[in-house]
Structure formats: C-alpha cells, structure tokens
Symmetry: C2
Subunit: 445 residues, 2 copies
Amino acid sequence: MVTPTAALVDYILGSRLDAIPDDVRHEGKRALVNIVGCALGGADHPVMDIAIAALGPHAGPPVSAVIGRRERFDPLLASLLNGVSSHVHDYDDTLPKNYIHASSPVASALLAYASVNEVSGPDFLHAFILGFEIVSRIGNATYPAHYEAGWHSTGSIGVFGAAVAVGRLLGLDAQRMTWAIGLAATQGAGIREMFGSMGKGFHPGSSAQRGYMAALLAEKGFTSGRLPLEGPRGFAAVTSAEYDLGKLTVDLGRHFELTDNTYKPFPCGIVVHPTIDACIQLREKHGFSAEEVEAVELRVAPLVKDLCNKKEISVGLEGKFSIYHAAAIGLGRGKAALAEFTDEAVNDPALKRIRLLAEANGDPAVHEDGVVVTVRLKDGREVGMHLSESLGNLKRPLSDAQLEAKFRDQAKVVTPDQADEAITACWIIDQLDDAARLIAPCIPR
Amino acid sequence: MVTPTAALVDYILGSRLDAIPDDVRHEGKRALVNIVGCALGGADHPVMDIAIAALGPHAGPPVSAVIGRRERFDPLLASLLNGVSSHVHDYDDTLPKNYIHASSPVASALLAYASVNEVSGPDFLHAFILGFEIVSRIGNATYPAHYEAGWHSTGSIGVFGAAVAVGRLLGLDAQRMTWAIGLAATQGAGIREMFGSMGKGFHPGSSAQRGYMAALLAEKGFTSGRLPLEGPRGFAAVTSAEYDLGKLTVDLGRHFELTDNTYKPFPCGIVVHPTIDACIQLREKHGFSAEEVEAVELRVAPLVKDLCNKKEISVGLEGKFSIYHAAAIGLGRGKAALAEFTDEAVNDPALKRIRLLAEANGDPAVHEDGVVVTVRLKDGREVGMHLSESLGNLKRPLSDAQLEAKFRDQAKVVTPDQADEAITACWIIDQLDDAARLIAPCIPR
C-alpha cells in the first residue's frame, strides 16, 4: 500500500506546471504579490534589526538578498529574515480552513534560494504552488486539533512547505524528498503563547530556515524516518489529538488549496476586519469627518468582543486587536493601512476620542465575519449598516488592483518604480527566465 | 504570585557555583567526561560528513572548533555538529526518570560558545549544571505524557538547556532570560519516528543550535511570550496531555537532577545492556572462547524481546537493538565497545554463529533491567547467571575510572596524550582559567 507520504512525494516529483490550471497559477501570482509586499512592509520593522544584530555575526557568506534590505547573508539566515518581515505586521494571507499563513514560510525560503541559485520563473512559481499545497493539506489533515492544542501552525506546519519547495528546486529524488519531509516533520515547532510578542513573526521565519535546511541535508544523504507524517510516532500522531490523513491526498492535483486562500485588506487581527470595513463604508457613503462622530455602537459576535475588548491602549500592536480602535480608524480616517497601527495612530487624539466613546456589545445573532454598526453624528443624523461578509474573505476577495495597492502602500523602502517593477515581475513570473528579476527591484537602492 | 518560569529565571540568575554541593559538581564533571568522549567517538561518523557537506557552505566565520574535527564553523553550526556527534552512537548519558539525554544539547552549545568567547572553567561548569538542571526539570514535569506522545524529549526539551546555559554565560537579565526560555519553548521539536535514522542524532544537535540562537536573540531584545512553560498555550500544555509544573521548582537548588544521571557502559540500546553485562561476566568467570559456545538461552522481560528480537541483521546500527547480537559479543568477545557495533562486527562469522544459535524468551518475572542467561559449552559444562541490576544503572554506576576508559575507547581521532589531557581538563574544569583548555586537546592534530 502506498503511504500518504509516498503519495505526496510521488505527486511532488511528478507534477508539471503546465498541468496546473490557469486560475491556480494566477492565484499563485496573487499570493506572491501579497507576500512580497508584506516582506517589504516589514523589512524596516525593529524586529529585523534585532534579528540581524543577534544572528548576523554568525551568518555565512553574504550571497543572498533579503527582501527590502541592503544587507546580504547566507540563504538560511535570509530565509529566516524574509519570514519574519513578511509576517510581523499580521498582514499576510490566511487559509480560512485551518488559519495557516502558508505563503510566508514557503516564499521566504524560495526567495532566498532563488537569490543564490539560478531558478527560472516557471520553476519558482511551480515550487511555490507545490510548497503551498503541502502546507495546506497537512494543515487540513490535522485541523482543528493541531491548532486548538496551541500550535501556531504557520510555524509547526509551514516548515514542510519550505522543505518541499526547496527540495523540488534541488531536484531531490523520491528517497531524498521523503527524508526532507521527515527532517521537516522533526523540526516543526511554534506555540501560540508567543502571540503578541516578536515570537509570532519568528515562526514562519524559523520554519522557512528549517525547511530549507531539511532539503539541504536530505540532498546530501541525511536520512530520516520512513513515515514522517503517518507513523505511530510521526508528526500527525505526536502533535494532533485527532487527524484525518485522507485529507493529505484527496483530489491531489485536481483541487488546489491556493484557490481557497484569502488576503487581508487591513494589517490587524482578522476578527476586527468587519468593523473596519463597515465603518469605512459608512464614512464614504455619508461623508462625515472624525469630529462629527458623537456616538458609536458595535454589535459583534461575542467571541470578537472577548478577543478585542481593548480600550485603554497605548502601542500600535495593541491596536491590531482592539475593536474600538478598528471603529475609530474606519470612521475617523476612512482607511486602515500600516499607518493606522502605529503608536502615533493609537495616540492620535481624534482617534482616541472615538475609541473611548464607542461601545461594543456581543450579540450571538451576529456572525464572526459580520458586524452591525450604528453611528450618531453631531448634526443629529443616525447612520448605520449591517455587514455580513467582510472584505477579503472568500466571497469578497481583494481584486488584483487592490492587491497592487496594498503592495504599494507597504513598499516604502523601495522607490515607486521599483514597486511597479516587482509587481509586474510577480504577474509575469511564469515568463521570466530568471526569478531573480522579481528579487532585484525589492532591494533598496 | 511568582510563575514557575519566573521562579526558574530567578534561580538561574541567582545561582552560585560555590553553593552547589561537591557531589553535584563532581557529577557534572563526570557528565562532561562522558559527553566529550562521546563527541570524540562520533566525530568521524559518516553523518558528520553529510551534515558538513550540506550546511558547511552556508556557515558563518570559521571561528568555532568542533569536538573531534579539524574544520571550524560559526558557533551555531558547531553546536549542531557537537550535538550530532555526541548522540549518534547512542552512547551518551540517560536520565532514568524521563529518558532524556540531557548532556548533549547543553554541552554541545557550551563547547561552541566557549570556543569563541572567553569563559572561565568554573563558569563553564556552572552553566552546564544549570542547563542540565532545567532540561531535567522540564522533563520531569512533562513525563511521561510528553515522551509517550512521541516526542524525543532530548530534542524537544534539550533546547531549553542550551538556551539557559548560553544565556547564563551571556549574562542575560531576568527579562531576557525569560525571552530566551520562551524562544526555546517555541522551537522545541523532535519526534520519535526518527529513531533508527540519522534524524535521531540530529535532535540534540538541532536543539543545541536553536537554544544558542534563542539566547542570542533574547540578548538583543527579541521578545517572546511571558508564560512560555505554564501558559494555556505554553510548552507544557501544547506538548503534554498531562503535566505537573510543581516539579519545575520543587527543591530547586537543593536537589540536583545530575545526581540521578546514568552513563551507558555499552554503545547500544539500554534494554540490551543487562544481557551484555551478564554475558561478559560469564565469560570472565568461566574463561571460555567464542568457539566453545554451543547453546544460549536468554530470559528477558517481554518488552525487551519485543523491542530487540532481531536475528537477521547485516548493519552495525541494527546490532544496537538485537538481543542476540548482545549475547554474541558478550560471550564471544567479552566486551561491547564501538568496535562491536560496526557492520564488520555484525558480519563476523564467530559472532554470527552465536547470534543464530541463541534463543530468547520473554518472561514476566524478569525485570527490564535484568536477565537470566544460560550457556552450554562444547565440553558439556552449563554455566549461567541471573543479573538483576545492570552495569551503568543508578545502583551500579560506572566508576570514574570506567568513564575514563570509555572516553579513551572513543577518542580515536586524537592521540592518547590528547585524550589524557582532555580527561584531566574535565576533572579540573573548576580550576581552569579558560574552558578552552578542555577544547584544545579535542581537536585532531
């Protein structure tokens, strides 16, 4: 009988890009536009300087670029740094089926690999799609038990995607690809206790680095267990109280999980997205200013109030999980980009005023992806709306143009021309003779 | 209330070597003699060449020595390599309370750190004792659920010891030591599916490297969660179905887990140790040769037969878990050193003959740490013994002289004079002004 791992390996080795449907390839490009933009947006975050100060002195030959940075490091450290920057703003993609942010670990390793090895654009896209698929499927097979146990699956499962993607580009044979998956399985880590600290952004970075290492070791003959996913002491059994290995291979090569991927319109917790979305729409429709807002009532799912009931806040990171700050920026500024989640924004008197006067009530009738907003203005008008599908979810996906705008908003460390060049490179990645043409415009000049 | 993590941090920062009892300090030296010897013994194992071929090209400045090797690498890769070599022969120490091999991850990181930083001998020994203690206590708190789930706790928990030991030498303050423990918690990994492959030896190496990284990151201000061990999504809850956090701190600074550490007399699975031990004793007492053995009957605990019922074997690694090979080397050679677990030994006709004629029977009356051996010789004599405590366990610990002999047997990559110098350095480590004096004689000339 073919084991699930063997079936995955067989698929990874036999897959051809031209057999992957156009819509999947396009979704792969959308994911690249999104994740490269996020890496640029996080590239000058203080966490990057800290990581570089700590690990840079021990880095290998400075051959690999890091997205959004001038320094070069060995590709393993570059993988880690790409992963940290692309996740640190909580702005990357999300798989609603299992809450994994799959692009960061996969793309972070691939971008480093392609920076030091010649990789054609089609091969790069193909490896990305395969890595993404493996992460998603291991996520599906172990969800929800794995996540509920407290694993941050972007780290604990992301490592597989980096191993498979780099392993595919290294041309590993079936035995070595199995070892690479095994060495990924035995490095999977990352716990949710880190949420709210730099440790969260560390996870996709670390998994990119460890997955890359797994592929390198396997290539040279470093052996690992034969049943890394399905064995009695394999990844699924060890980390997940319940799991369904059938999900690893069902419709493999026919259904691609990339088509279920979502992209955040706002750099903050997904649960405050509906509030921001509705408040922006109200402001656009009724044309009021921040000063005119006199009262705000939010009705949200009880879980959302539980998670985001933060009014007394002073740093930007806290704003990412405050339902009141969400209302304040939507009503007060009509947008929610990186600038709305800085310390400055949280302490902006106009926003603070709205945050403090806003009220939120849990209402079991409201879905987690919805909100009911009522706003009273100083002129006596009362305006409101009931939002049931939030921008960015699978039913209201960001358009290609919106993804481009999100990219440009984040790409402050490069010139607008460079940003355009990088965006174009993502859209035509399958026509590029060298994937490095996507990387070059992402380096500050 | 002081959290368990805070209590551990407080202890680590406030501990003084001169407040640690003499017997504990001596046991720390014994653990060093043992683990440095194991690192020398594994230094020329093929797995080391593979790891170096894969990761060496991405290594940082070649400043750190690796025990038993001529190459130098950055201290993070050196930590990994020291960890692989010191565990690859399954010859390092064991904590009977939780089956963790605690010395490898801790010493592997410390030896790399001390190779590139000036560390006094007393500080080195002190950091080792502290790292060992933390690993042991986290192991106790999560045993048996953690191990039974399938974690190879030498990897998943070893990482804490490396972080704490290096963190102590870096002089981390309480906040940073907490972050280091958090960054260790979120990197803990290693599954038992890897047993029987190179993945097993990878675990202490990887945990040494990751723990060292955790300390470096924390030093520069990389934050992590506040309750890494005890939080609802912390290490214990995520990885262990049941746990007892009280064991983290009970008698902390009064009872030291080092005093419960054991050292293997033979480089193989602990469960075949009683058979080897008894067979060596029989041969010594009765003075027969391999050729004279005509029949062998072993009565062992049923679990031991289950685990080690391997007769048709052809490679040395398999011999480590064959009860029949164990009898063959004990009766046929009267010893069980590294040379008895090579491919050559497994295929030695004289040993193979005994292996094939030996019989093993499970007997619930025999303890796992015991064996009943009966041997019939060609001259008609029947000799036998019932062993109830195996050499190397807590009741029959290896003597200092036996540890030295074990070291010398493994130290083939350096000269006998170097081996003596290294052994002496371990015994007088708390009088050395520079711990590098332990490392220098471990490098082949």
